[in-house]
């Protein structure tokens, strides 16, 4: 469900097959700020290759280093160590105005004294593009972002969503090798944000420019990205497609940051053909795909929507835990259950409200939770 978008074309899983090579490469990039007595490591060590035409997201909580990473690509910050490459060329130490990337700022940073058309034409004028060409391209890009009739307006006369699209047009019109977007939708309300997510994806597909998208909103990243780098404390915790990130979180942080995750701890009893089994009392068990050895403590994740909730004890080929329903929250298309399992772990379970699944359990009921072994992953605990 996480990777479902409203577009017709499927999200490519291997962007490198598009050809064109790496648009952006970060090699061992680190950034430390001096502050007071010591230094703060904003970015510790980032190695990253972003392919041509890719929609790439840097996702993480505030202070994780994602914005600093983007600003190093743009040239507003210089890395303390490491190399930044644009289209293979080392641009470390090159000023922002000499880099072929453009940025869309969170606050839009439109020039308040210029009309929409002048804002959009700014970059082309600096590049000394011919006046006729500028007029043509500005008109064209304003049509693309559906602001053709607002060319003469000043930014202050536009709504937040319109200003956002001007900021996008102002960057896109230069046809940069990559577009850097710093939480561009953060200032918009929910409905507009969702509309703009689809809009951004459409524009990216139409112009075919590499997008590097910084966000703390995991839903946004999952919806739009070809690939996501989840960052925490200055390092990339996991890099992969939205499905990989969501379905197989590599670390406890990723499991907790992306969506809702249930974490079950246990001791490996024995391996069963590529799977390990964690045994609990009364026939309860968790099966997980791992090479852990017997006796090892492991942490197992499972997504709430992968769990089936039932009254009867499931088969031995499934992970199965027994528990008591603590809370039932009806959400419309789904019902959320909070279940306290017998060994004390609180579990969250999402059940689709399909036609035959009326009222599976009530508060206080004893239920069985079960899920297929391939839906849980062992994390380093």
């Amino acid at each position: 469900m996480a990777t479902t978008t409203t577009e017709e074309t499927p999200v490519p899983q291997e962007p490198s097959t598009r050809g064109g090579g790496a648009a952006i490469a970060l090699e061992g990039v680190a950034k430390a700020y001096r502050s007071g007595h010591g230094t703060i490591d904003a970015v510790r060590q980032v190695d990253l290759t972003i392919e041509q035409g890719e929609f790439f997201s840097l996702l993480g909580p505030s202070g994780c280093g994602k914005t600093t990473t983007m600003r190093m690509i743009a040239g507003f910050e210089e890395p303390t160590s490491g190399v930044v490459r644009l289209a293979g060329e080392d641009v470390t130490g090159v000023a922002p105005n000499r880099r072929d990337v453009n940025m869309v700022f969170q606050s839009y940073a439109l020039f308040p004294h210029m009309s929409v058309a002048d804002n959009v034409a700014f970059g082309l004028k600096r590049k000394k593009v011919a006046a006729v060409e500028i007029t043509r391209r500005v008109t064209e890009i304003l049509e693309l972002v559906e602001l053709g009739d607002r060319a003469k307006y000043k930014p202050a006369q536009l709504s937040g969503g319109q200003q956002q699209r001007v900021a996008l047009a102002r960057a896109l019109v230069n046809r940069p090798s990559a577009l850097l977007l710093d939480e561009p939708l953060a200032a918009l309300d929910l409905k507009l944000r969702q509309a703009m997510q689809i809009e951004l994806k459409r524009i990216q597909r139409e112009v075919g420019i590499t997008f590097v998208y910084v966000t703390h909103d995991q839903g946004e990243a999952l919806t739009m990205s070809d690939r996501i780098a989840v960052m925490n404390k200055g390092v990339i915790e996991q890099l992969g497609t939205p499905a990989q990130i969501y379905e197989t979180p590599a670390t406890r942080f990723v499991a907790g940051f992306i969506g809702t995750s249930n974490l079950v701890t246990g001791v490996v009893a024995r391996g069963v053909g590529g799977y390990s089994r964690l045994d609990y009392s009364d026939g309860q068990q968790v099966l997980v795909r791992t090479d852990a050895i017997s006796g090892e403590h492991v942490l197992v994740t499972v997504r709430p929507e992968k769990i089936h909730l039932g009254k009867h004890q499931p088969g031995t080929d499934l992970s199965r835990l027994r528990g008591t329903v603590r809370e039932v929250v009806y959400m419309g298309s789904t019902t959320h259950y909070a279940v306290d399992t017998a060994q004390g772990t609180g579990m969250t379970v999402f059940q689709q409200n399909v036609s035959d699944a009326s009222n599976l359990a009530e508060r206080g009921d004893t239920v069985w939770l079960s899920w297929r072994p391939e839906h849980s992953y062992a994390l380093p605990s």
């Binding site: 743009a74 507003f76 000023a95 922002p96 105005n97 000499r98 990337v101 453009n102 940025m103 700022f105 606050s107 940073a109 439109l110 020039f111 308040p112 004294h113 700014f122 970059g123 600096r126 590049k127 102002r170 960057a171 230069n174």
Partner: protein, 287 residues
């Protein structure tokens, strides 16, 4: 009843201000206009004779001082822009945590009376004073060189006196310029100079406009700098007004010169505002 009170409240709050302006600005101005049309002298008294002839008379007599005042005011204003704009820019963009300290330093001279400060300049710039004396003994200046009693001394004195009035409004505008806007300009291929000319400068025009008014008007009408730092060839119109009032007691003449100066400055300001665009002026007024 309650509604009436709320609509009247702003007017009542503004009342003291209006009364103040009426009592100490409008009434004296009308009085001076009346005075300028009188004839007579301090001994026999002044009679209203509607002597409009005093106006062409003072212009014919003092056109040189009037022009000199405007020229000095203009030079001082340009000097203030040249010194003050970079200063305001630096405090606004690179002042960091110490912005308040820098502004206080800028205003610190105001804690000493203007006349005292101007007199101390006289000591500093004296022919064998700290600055010129040192340069002369070092052989960097010829022995006959002097600064006092020249137009240079007066213009520098004016620029020194009114510099904070240029820096503060420019600073106030620059301080509110979003740094991301400057970054956006760099990002869109503008060099530092282009970003300044295309983005920062246009955005700071309202502050520059206010600064020019605040420096040009009082420095054109100033008399302290000309009388302390200038010589007999550097008399400004302010000195004439002062001596006609306080030395010659020629009240009608002094009043007439005052009105001529005021008229010239008003016409100048409005044509300046017109040239810069009324939008900018409205923006200044709105602040």
């Amino acid at each position: 009843m309650a509604r009436e009170r709320t609509t009247a409240t702003p007017y009542l709050l503004a009342m003291p201000g209006w009364i103040w302006l009426a009592a100490f600005f409008v009434v004296p101005i009308i009085g001076m206009l009346w005075m300028s049309l009188m004839t007579g002298n301090i001994v026999t008294g002044f009679q209203p004779t509607f002597n409009f002839g005093v106006y062409p008379q003072v212009i014919a007599t003092y056109w040189e001082q009037i022009l000199r005042s405007l020229a000095y005011g203009l030079c001082a204003t340009l000097l203030c822009i040249a010194i003050g704009y970079p200063l305001a820019f630096w405090i606004a963009f690179h002042g960091g945590r110490n912005k308040a300290t820098y502004l206080l330093l800028l205003l610190l001279p105001f804690f000493v009376s203007q006349i005292l400060r101007t007199i101390s300049w006289k000591f500093l710039l004296a022919d064998n004073g700290v600055i010129l004396g040192t340069l002369k003994s070092a052989g960097l200046l010829p022995d006959g060189a002097h600064v006092l009693s020249t137009s240079t001394a007066v213009v520098f004195g004016l620029a020194y006196t009114f510099l904070p009035f240029m820096v503060l409004p420019i600073y106030a505008v620059l301080e509110r310029v979003d740094h991301r806007i400057v970054e956006a300009a760099h990002d869109l291929y503008a060099s530092r100079i282009q970003a300044f000319v295309r983005v920062v400068l246009p955005l700071s025009l309202p502050g520059l406009f206010a600064g020019v008014l605040l420096v040009f008007v009082p420095s054109s009408a100033d008399y302290v700098n000309a009388s302390v730092l200038g010589g007999t060839h550097n008399t400004m119109i302010g000195n004439i007004i002062q001596s006609q009032y306080l030395v010659n007691n020629a009240y009608p003449v002094a009043s007439a010169i005052t009105f001529v100066l005021m008229a010239i400055l008003l016409v100048g300001i409005f044509s300046y505002a017109k040239a810069l665009g009324t939008e900018q002026v409205m923006e200044v007024q709105a602040k």
